[in-house]
Symmetry: C2
Subunit: 190 residues, 2 copies
């Protein structure tokens, strides 16, 4: 079950933008983040959600997409995410562990996949600009953005080739290929 | 389903040490980590697994347990983890994103919970000492340790109290209480 979800959970960057993502579902996903483990139980992460077209249109330009696809500037209108979860770090609570951010991302992504959605963790964000757009209080720092929607692309996982190139690429049918390291490569005492 | 697993997945620190965790299961969990998202698809994480009593006994002293429980030095013999997954960062592959480590932890923990196990992410590790014990090559740096086993404790989640104290504690029946921030506190535009 978890295996099925983890395997199905690919980083999607093109979506059926007209398919809405309900606010209740976003709240449920944030709850999954909230209930995930946190280093020293500090729980420094806060969340801002958007499924509003106008607000989404303001968030979109602050995000960088698919660095390895040099000829692709990101999803066109109509294929952009229907929702975002902005992950914030509350600096007034002390120094959080950086892996906390990943833990909550994976909880929320797997929750989204279970509901037939998909998403992408975006770390390359114009953080100050986004904080300004969303009127985020000074003590909350933008950490990551989760882009969400109903996926409109095929993602194919391939074993990494012998040259070790990890760059994803798109074939002539615009299927997105992701080279993954094999179990034999990553598990050093297999 | 994911909600059930995320809620069930608590940080457990006492286990039925005699209940083995199969090597095949550890390999399956590592595979879940491998198939999880990775920033820039770099996939810098490598893994070392142990379910061997003698090796576990060497790993155990390199780990720090439950910093807030000042009167508790960690699980006693018989209640220690039956297995470990050591998460390593391959520095020869370039600089990975720190949230990658959390993403793989959560995939593996949820996979463990689905199998009736539980675990704890341990960041406070004598890293050089552990690398030495496990004969880890120089270019692989110990990042985190996942301790795994069949949980032998009750973990209770409480809403955080008004004073905001996030320290977990044990009651007279040795149940482990974890104060969690409420949804209202963490979702800033609920």
């Amino acid at each position: 079950m978890i295996k099925e979800l983890v395997y199905k959970n690919r980083s999607y960057r093109r979506f059926y933008e007209d398919e809405p993502v309900g606010r209740d579902l976003l709240v449920e996903l944030v709850d999954l983040g909230r209930m995930s483990p946190s280093g020293r139980n500090l729980q420094p992460l806060k969340y801002f959600i958007s499924n509003d077209r106008d607000l989404n249109a303001k968030i979109y330009p602050t995000l960088a997409w698919a660095g390895y696809l040099k000829d692709w500037g990101g999803p066109v209108e109509g294929e952009r995410p229907s929702a975002y979860i902005v992950i914030l770090e509350d600096t007034s609570l002390g120094q959080g562990m950086p892996h906390d951010q990943g833990i909550v991302c994976q909880s929320m992504l797997l929750g989204a996949v279970e509901k037939g959605l998909g998403g992408c963790v975006i770390a390359s964000v114009k953080k100050a600009e986004l904080a300004d757009i969303l009127n985020i209080p000074e003590h909350l720092k933008v950490a990551l953005v989760l882009a969400l929607g109903k996926p409109k692309e095929e993602v194919v996982v391939d074993d990494i080739s012998e040259d070790g190139d990890i760059k994803y690429w798109r074939d002539s049918e615009q299927h997105h290929h992701v080279p993954k390291r094999t179990l034999k490569e990553v598990l050093i005492n297999l």
